[in-house]
Symmetry: C2
Subunit: 396 residues, 2 copies
Amino acid sequence: MISDKMKELVKNNSVIREMFEEGKALSKKYGQENVYDFSLGNPSIPVPEKVNDTIREILKNEDTLKVHGYMNNAGFEDVREKIAENINNKFDTKFSGENIVMCVGAASGINIILKSILNPSDEVITFAPYFMEYKNYINSYDGKLVEISPNTKDFQPRLDEFENKITKNTKAVIINTPNNPTGVIYSEETIKEICKILEKKQTEYEKEIFIISDEPYREIAYDNNEVPYITKYYNNTFVVYSYSKTLSIPGERIGYVVIPSEMDDSKNIITAITIANRIIGCVNAPSLMQRVLIECANEKVDLSMYDENRKLLYNELTNYGFECIKPQGAFYLFLKSPIENELEFCKKAKEYNILFVPGSSFACKGYVRIAYCVSNEMIKRALPAFKKLAENYINK
Amino acid sequence: MISDKMKELVKNNSVIREMFEEGKALSKKYGQENVYDFSLGNPSIPVPEKVNDTIREILKNEDTLKVHGYMNNAGFEDVREKIAENINNKFDTKFSGENIVMCVGAASGINIILKSILNPSDEVITFAPYFMEYKNYINSYDGKLVEISPNTKDFQPRLDEFENKITKNTKAVIINTPNNPTGVIYSEETIKEICKILEKKQTEYEKEIFIISDEPYREIAYDNNEVPYITKYYNNTFVVYSYSKTLSIPGERIGYVVIPSEMDDSKNIITAITIANRIIGCVNAPSLMQRVLIECANEKVDLSMYDENRKLLYNELTNYGFECIKPQGAFYLFLKSPIENELEFCKKAKEYNILFVPGSSFACKGYVRIAYCVSNEMIKRALPAFKKLAENYINK
C-alpha cells in the first residue's frame, strides 16, 4: 500500500517512536525535572517581543485580505526587497528582491532547489557528520548522496577525499555551517579551498556544480566568530536560510533561498525554484510571517543564553574527562563517546536519565550530539548525572 | 542546468507570464477599473474578524515558544482533536485526532498523500475538467495521470469511461467537488456509483484503489446543496481540506488530510503521510495558524457575496445568449465558448478588457472559466462589456 521509497522510512519510524516512548516513560517514572533530555534541536530562548508586536501592528494596519492572501509564489515583493537589503548590509553583497525566493523553512528551501536541479542518479556530496534528512531529500528526486567521511580532528571537511569523490555526475555539494551536529564553523580557508576545488572540477567536467549552503544557524555564532558568506567565493551558490532558530519560530516555517544573478542561467533557475515551490505543494511561504519580516528580518533572540549553556556544558564535561571539540556556533555539542560503540554509551547515559542522539544518526559513529537549547537550570540539574556517567569510563 | 522534469514547466511559464504582462498592460492603458479580470481564484470576501481576534488572544494568553514552535509533524494534538470533532459534528463521522494530519494547504496535502502511496508508473485517474496542477503533482512521484473525458451535458463524471480506464496499475482517483472549474457538485448518486465501481475493481484486481477527495470548496455550496462526505461511502478515501477559501486565508497555507481508521493499513499510512510532511520539507503546518483553528475551525466567510455574484453573472450571461451550467458551489462559472476555439474567444474578450482562463487549461476545450470571487461592483461594470462581447456571436 505504501510507496517503496517510504516503506523503509515507515519501518525506521517505529525505532524513533520507541526512543520517544522510552523518554516519556522515564519522565513518568522519575518526574520530568529529573530527566535530562538533550535530544531535540528545539529553540528555547523566548521569541523576540518585536515579532508578536509586529503581528499585532499588521493586523491593525494592513488589509487582511492581503496579509493572509496569495502573492507571487516567490513571495511578497517588498519582503524580498527588504531581505535582499538586509543581506547586502550585513555581508556586503549586491542582491535585489529578484534573487530571493521565500520558502516554507530551510527544509523546504533545500527541496525546491533539489527539485529544480536534480536528474535521476545525479550525485550530491555532503560532509559527515551531517543532518540525515539530506538523504531523504535527495532520494525524493532520485539523486544519490555521496558522503565524505568525518575528520574527527577538528571536524573541518576532508578536502582530499572531497576532491577525489567529485565525478562527472556530481551536481551539488551541501554545506552546513555552523554545523549540526558539531557546532563547528567552517573556516574561510576551508570555504576557499572547497570553492577552488569546485572551480577546477567545473572546468574539468565542463558542467556546473552547485553549492547549497544550508544556513539555519548562520546567526548563532559565538566569540565573534565569522561565518563566511559563500556567494562571495563561488558564483554557483544557493543560500538557504530559515528564521526558525534566529527568531525561535520553527513551527512557522519561514525562510528563503538566495539565487545570485552571477549563477549560470540564474533567471531560469529562479523561475524553476519558484515553480517548484508551487508544485511541491507549498505554493508560497506563509503570508503573515512573510509580512512580519519587513520589521523583523534583522531581529534575533538573545543568544547569551545559548552561549552560557555552551560554556557551562563544555567546561564541565571536559572537566569530567569527556572529549569534545568546543562548539563555535549552533546549539549542539558533539561529544566523543568514551567507548567505541556510542549506542552502548547512549544506553548507559539513559541509566542516569540523560538523553542524547547517537552520532550514527549523523553518519559519524563514536560520538553523541548534545542539544543545549534547553534551560540553564536543566543543565545544572544534569551535571551531577553527567559526572556519575563519566566515572563509569574516565576514572577506570 | 535545470532538471528534465522542470524544463517544460519553466518553458510554459513564459506563456503565463506573457498573459500576466498583457493584463498589466491593459490596466495601464485603460485604467484598472476598466479592466475586468476574472482569471484568478483569489478569495475576495474579507477574512472573518474572529480569525484576527483569535490571533490577538493567542499572542496575549499562550506561551509564544509553543505558539511558534515545533510540534509533532502531524500537527498539535489538541488542534487535530478539535478538527476531528468538528468534522464528526458536521458529517456524522467518527474520527479522532489520530485520523488528522495537518498540512501546508490542500496542494501540500495531495503531495504528501501521493508521495506516500505512488510507485513509478502507478496510474491516478481524474475527471476532466480538472485543476491542471494535479498533473505536476503526480509527475513528481513518477505516476501517470489518466484523464476521463468531460461530460459537457452536466459535468458529472463519465462513469462508463471511468470503469473502462481502471487497470491493475490504478492506484488512486482524484475527485474535486464542488469542482474547479465548473462549480458543479457531484451528486450523491454519482459518488455512490464511483464507489461501487471502485469496490468492484478492488476485488477484481485484489488491490487497494484510493479516492483522494480534494475539497477546498466543500464549504462553498449554494442553495443548500449537499456535498457528500466520501469516507462514508468508501473506506479507502483520503479527504484533503484547506481553509484557504473558507476563511479567505490562502496565503497562510493551512489545511489537513483525513485518513480514516477504516482505510486498509491506516496506521502505517498515517505514519507515512506524517513522514512525507517532514521530508518534502513542510515539516509541519504553520503553527500559529494551527492554533487559530482551535477557535475558528467552524468559522466561515459570508458566502452571500459570492452567491450574489453567482446569480448576477449567471442570469445576465445567459440572458445575453451565452450557454453555461449553473454553478452549485465554488466561485467559478464555466462558460461555453460560442466558437469552437476558445482561445480565439479569449482573445476577442480581451478586446473588451475581459480576462478569463481558457478551458484547455483544465483539459476541456471549448469552454472558459470565469472566477467570480471579485467585487460585485466589478461585475456590474463588466456586464456591458460582456453584452457587447456576446453580440459578436449570438445575434449573428
